[in-house]
């Protein structure tokens, strides 16, 4: 994935761990925004259904 299938050694490891770290940070802030935007609508839909 992302061309890192065969990544190894110090440089490859840094790239792999970097991808995971960046994804974690993006997901933390991204899902927070998503929760604010669609959270109330989802809860309202669940309650009304």
């Amino acid at each position: 994935m992302f061309g890192l299938e065969n990544a190894s050694g110090v440089e490859g490891a840094a790239l792999v761990v970097g991808v995971v770290l960046v994804e974690a940070i993006v997901l933390y802030y991204g899902y927070a925004v998503l929760e604010r935007l669609v959270g109330p609508a989802v809860i309202a839909a669940l309650v009304d259904e």
Partner: protein, 343 residues
């Protein structure tokens, strides 16, 4: 024709993302144990033990980053204690990794890791189920606001805390602890991380509280801070050998981060103790699944691999489903409102 994204089959990405939602839901709701299912599940799916452990560790690292970001602003991290824990844990991880590679060389890695998983999952699962059925939540609460009375600290822990082997280190809350105690606890949990691909939080958090005497909120925050480093270092060491599989970690994390938000929100709606017994049973089923898989491999019965996978995913699905259904029921009953939900 198989649809692909980033060169990976969409069905495989969806499978891991879906499993991630389950894991995240359990972690978000119970505050522990979610990642403990990842490595055995990957092993059951047929991944090489080293890849399963390495990818599980990378997943733990990323999950800890997200959880630590939440705790960062709450001032619940003792950085001095955290740095000392990191030093001890790094040594433990390296020894655990060397041990795993050695076992792999002599062809015993899968057997030994499976046996340890069966023992740990079974033991912790039995303990949680027993205490939950007795009416006690079981284990140390991850609720950072929970207050703990002295009588909740076992005698053995009070005895251990009473030893003063110099040099002594003062941690947050003015508590004085032997440096050797901190390093010993860190090394032992690092050993587990390196060997099993788990964060070790299910042992380190109680150890910080019981053996070192750190207050619960500090134990939780420092544990997460420490996992970021131990998980990161462990992932890096395994990634140097090319053992971390991003095809597993990336979708698993995407699903898990979403599930963790739903799970955390559900804690405002559902009483954790009502469901904790199912969590204990799920861990017990996880132990059975790993044992069934090992029996299938030993006796060359391929169908047991599938039975094992069904048990482990089915158990996680049932408990996660119970959390979601209970939350929806509470929302609809009107006993809780959306305003109860955390930001």
């Amino acid at each position: 024709m198989t649809m692909e994204l980033f060169g990976v089959a969409v069905t495989l990405l969806a499978l891991f993302a879906g499993f991630g939602v389950l894991i995240g839901l359990l972690f978000g709701f119970f505050g522990m144990g979610g990642s403990f299912l990842v490595t055995p599940a990957l092993m059951v799916m047929g991944y090489d033990t080293t890849v399963a452990v390495a990818s599980g560790l990378a997943f733990v690292f990323a999950t800890a980053v997200i959880a630590t970001l939440k705790h960062r602003d709450l001032g619940q991290v003792d950085y001095k204690l955290g740095v000392l824990m990191i030093a001890g844990t790094t040594g433990g991880i390296e020894v655990g990794k060397i041990g795993l590679h050695w076992l792999q060389d002599i062809g015993l890695a899968d057997t030994v890791v499976s046996i340890i998983y069966v023992g740990l999952l079974g033991g912790i699962g039995a303990f949680i189920t027993y205490t939950a059925m007795k009416g006690n939540g079981g284990g140390v609460s991850h609720d950072v606001d929970a207050e703990v009375d002295d009588h909740e600290v076992p005698d053995i822990a009070q005895k251990i805390q009473s030893y003063h082997v110099p040099p002594m280190v003062t941690i947050r809350g003015g508590i004085s602890v032997s440096l050797w105690m901190i390093l010993g606890v860190a090394f032992a949990t690092g050993l587990l991380s390196g060997f099993l691909g788990v964060g070790g939080g299910f042992i380190r958090m109680p150890a910080l509280f019981y053996l070192i005497g750190a207050p619960v909120p500090i134990a939780v925050g420092t544990d997460l801070f420490e996992i970021v480093f131990s998980g990161g270092i462990g992932s890096f060491l395994y990634a140097m050998d090319g053992a971390v599989n991003l095809t597993i970690v990336v979708p698993l994390l995407a699903g898990s981060a979403l599930g963790a938000r739903v799970g955390a929100a559900s804690t405002a709606l559902v009483d954790e103790d009502e469901i904790k017994v199912y969590f204990g049973i799920m861990l017990l089923l996880g132990a059975i699944a790993v044992a069934v898989r090992k029996i299938g491999m030993t006796w060359e019965i391929p169908s047991l691999q599938m039975v094992s996978l069904v048990i482990i995913v089915g158990a996680a699905t049932l408990v996660a489903g119970a959390v979601v259904l209970s939350s929806v029921r509470e929302l609809r009953s009107g006993t809780a409102t959306a305003t109860n939900l955390p930001e």
